[in-house]
């Protein structure tokens, strides 16, 4: 029999793995993947709890919001990341002329 605790432990593992990736990796994309793992773990918890909530379907509705929001922010993130690394080629970080105001 699969109980709620099973889901929660899987969620906790995924969350910690994501946490580790964010803290230990130097690569922006891998940090992003770590964050996505954390969000997935949270969504797993939400749907696992949501099974008991047939009145409002709160867990599943919130899970949908979370997935959509995460996807939107990934689009922004990729735009930013590509922007940063496009400049790596041309700009040497040591001689950046600091912001001109």
């Amino acid at each position: 029999m699969i109980t709620l605790t099973h889901f929660l432990i899987v969620g906790a593992c995924l969350f910690s793995i994501g946490l580790y990736a964010v803290m230990a990796r130097r690569n922006a994309i891998m940090v992003l993947v770590g964050i996505e793992l954390m969000i997935n773990a949270a969504v797993l918890n939400l749907v696992a709890f949501g099974r008991y909530d047939s009145e409002h379907y709160g867990g599943q509705a919130f899970a949908l919001f979370a997935i959509v929001l995460a996807a939107a922010s990934v689009a922004v993130a990729l735009a930013i990341i590509l922007n940063v690394y496009r400049h790596y080629k041309t700009i040497n970080p040591e001689d950046i002329n600091h912001l001109k105001d």
């Binding site: 994501g18 940090v31 954390m38 969504v43 918890n45 709890f49 867990g59 929001l69 993130a77 922007n83």
Partner: protein, 459 residues
């Protein structure tokens, strides 16, 4: 509610204006829209507030006051933005629209009554700023600030989401009233999930607020972003973050004080020391202000450590005083940097001779940030400290006074540079909108310092 609709429609209108190349109309239209929002909030004042849309938002006095503060701060920031964006891109409408969207998020964060709205509000507020931090596409520091801000922000979103999931698991609802009901009705049997959820929420909100030990992104992001965006982050976002923090904890978690107050107490002390000690050694005014904003986050946390009926008022006062002075501080930095190309303390040398009024405004701002009597900053600090003293946490107050003394040291460096270090320099041209903003901010700072009662009775 009408205010939120106005704000989001305003942002879309601004985008349309950009599409039809009506660049001159952007600023006036945005300002008019924001003033209209303030009026709409004013009309709502005093009516009994009911949770709207199945308990999603609640426009009580707390929400209205903090929303109005956010909107007014945005008006001041937008006034400073005249001609500012033109240099970085020909498409300025997007910047105004993104600032307005971000403000919409901030307003949602201060008026949420359901964790779903808190989550979405924080996301809207932050995603707009990730983009805005990187608007100088050719500038490496700006890009890097955007990337760093994004990764740290998304990281804290992960914590927020997991925390919310755990609270939901324990209490069965996202609604604040239902969560409160759960806490109050089960004083003994609070599930461990709930405690873990509170911890994760503290981590995530401390990230947004920039409190130690989750502050490390703040200096680099504040330093790398364009100054105008930094002003917005340091004022509106901080206001919304602390107001959301307080709202959640005041509404729901007061009965569990014994659990989370020690955690926050330790964080507050670390925040104060980290912010002040690192601010002292900075050579750049921009970085100094960035680090000092960390220490102000520490003072703001006082209100949550000593949570009670007066917390909202102290936070309101402190955050108003801090934000007004920060606008003057960073705003004058824009001007000084334009004139000298540098943001070091030396760039302020001899400013008092050529620009006496500008220097006076900066001096008032620095005195207020340092917490000198007769300025709003002093009253704010006083309210925070007395709130904590009422809870008998004398040690915290002693540590905070030591920190306030450190603060005086580095804020006075700016004043000393302006008044006592002579240097031949050209007068800085201060354009009309800047004058208005500095005058208003300095005036309010002084008035609140003398007549604090205007603001303290609001909530």
């Amino acid at each position: 509610m009408s205010a939120i609709i106005t704000l989001s429609l305003l942002a879309i209108l601004v985008l349309y204006l950009g599409l039809f190349k009506a660049r001159r109309a952007l600023l006036p239209v945005s300002l008019l829209g924001l003033v209209a929002t303030v009026v709409l909030y004013g009309v709502q004042w005093g009516k009994t507030a009911e949770p709207l849309y199945s308990g999603m938002v609640l426009f009580d006095h707390f929400a209205v006051v903090f929303s109005v503060v956010c909107v007014i701060l945005t008006i001041l920031v937008l006034l400073l933005s005249k001609d500012y964006f033109d240099k970085s891109s020909p498409h300025v409408a997007e910047y105004y629209a993104l600032l307005l969207f971000s403000l919409t998020g901030a307003v949602l964060v201060v008026s949420f009554h359901n964790l779903a709205m808190l989550f979405i509000g924080i996301e809207i507020m932050s995603v707009a700023l990730y983009i805005l931090a990187g608007i100088r596409k050719k500038d490496f520091a700006s890009n890097e600030a955007a990337l760093k801000y994004f990764l740290m922000g998304a990281y804290s979103t992960g914590f927020l989401l997991f925390g919310i999931a755990l609270l939901y698991g324990a209490s069965g609802s996202f609604d604040l009233a239902a969560i409160k009901e759960y806490v109050v009705s089960n004083p003994q049997g609070i599930s461990p999930l709930f405690y873990a959820g509170i911890l994760l929420l503290i981590v995530s909100l401390a990230f947004k607020l920039g409190a130690a030990p989750f502050h490390f992104w703040t200096p680099d992001v504040y330093d790398g972003s364009p100054i105008l965006i930094t002003i917005f982050m340091a004022t509106v976002v901080k206001t919304a973050a602390i107001a959301g923090f307080l709202r959640l904890f005041y509404f729901c978690f007061i009965p569990l004080q014994d659990f989370w107050v020690p955690v926050l107490l330790v964080m507050t002390i670390i925040t104060l020391f980290v912010g002040n000690l690192t601010a002292i050694v900075q050579q750049s005014v921009k970085r100094m202000l960035a680090y000092s904003s960390i220490s102000h986050a520490g003072y703001l946390l006082f209100a949550i450590v000593a949570i009670g009926a007066t917390s909202a008022n102290s936070v309101l006062f402190y955050v108003t005083a801090y934000s007004l002075s920060t606008i003057i501080g960073f705003g004058s930095l824009i001007l000084v940097k334009r004139a000298t190309g540098s943001e070091h303390f030396e760039a302020f040398n001899g400013l008092a001779k050529k620009n006496p009024y500008l220097s006076l405004a900066i001096a008032i701002a620095m005195l207020s940030l340092a917490g000198i009597p007769l300025t709003a900053g002093f009253v704010g600090k006083f309210m925070m400290f007395s709130g904590v003293l009422a809870d008998y946490q004398v040690l915290l107050v002693v540590l905070a006074v030591i920190n306030a003394a450190m603060g005086i040291f580095y804020y006075f460096r700016v004043i000393v540079a302006m008044y006592f270090k002579p240097l031949d320099r050209d007068a800085i041209v201060v354009s009309g909108p800047y004058r208005v903003v500095f005058f208003l901010a300095a005036l309010i700072t002084l008035l609140l310092g003398v007549y604090p009662a205007w603001l303290t009775g609001l909530i």
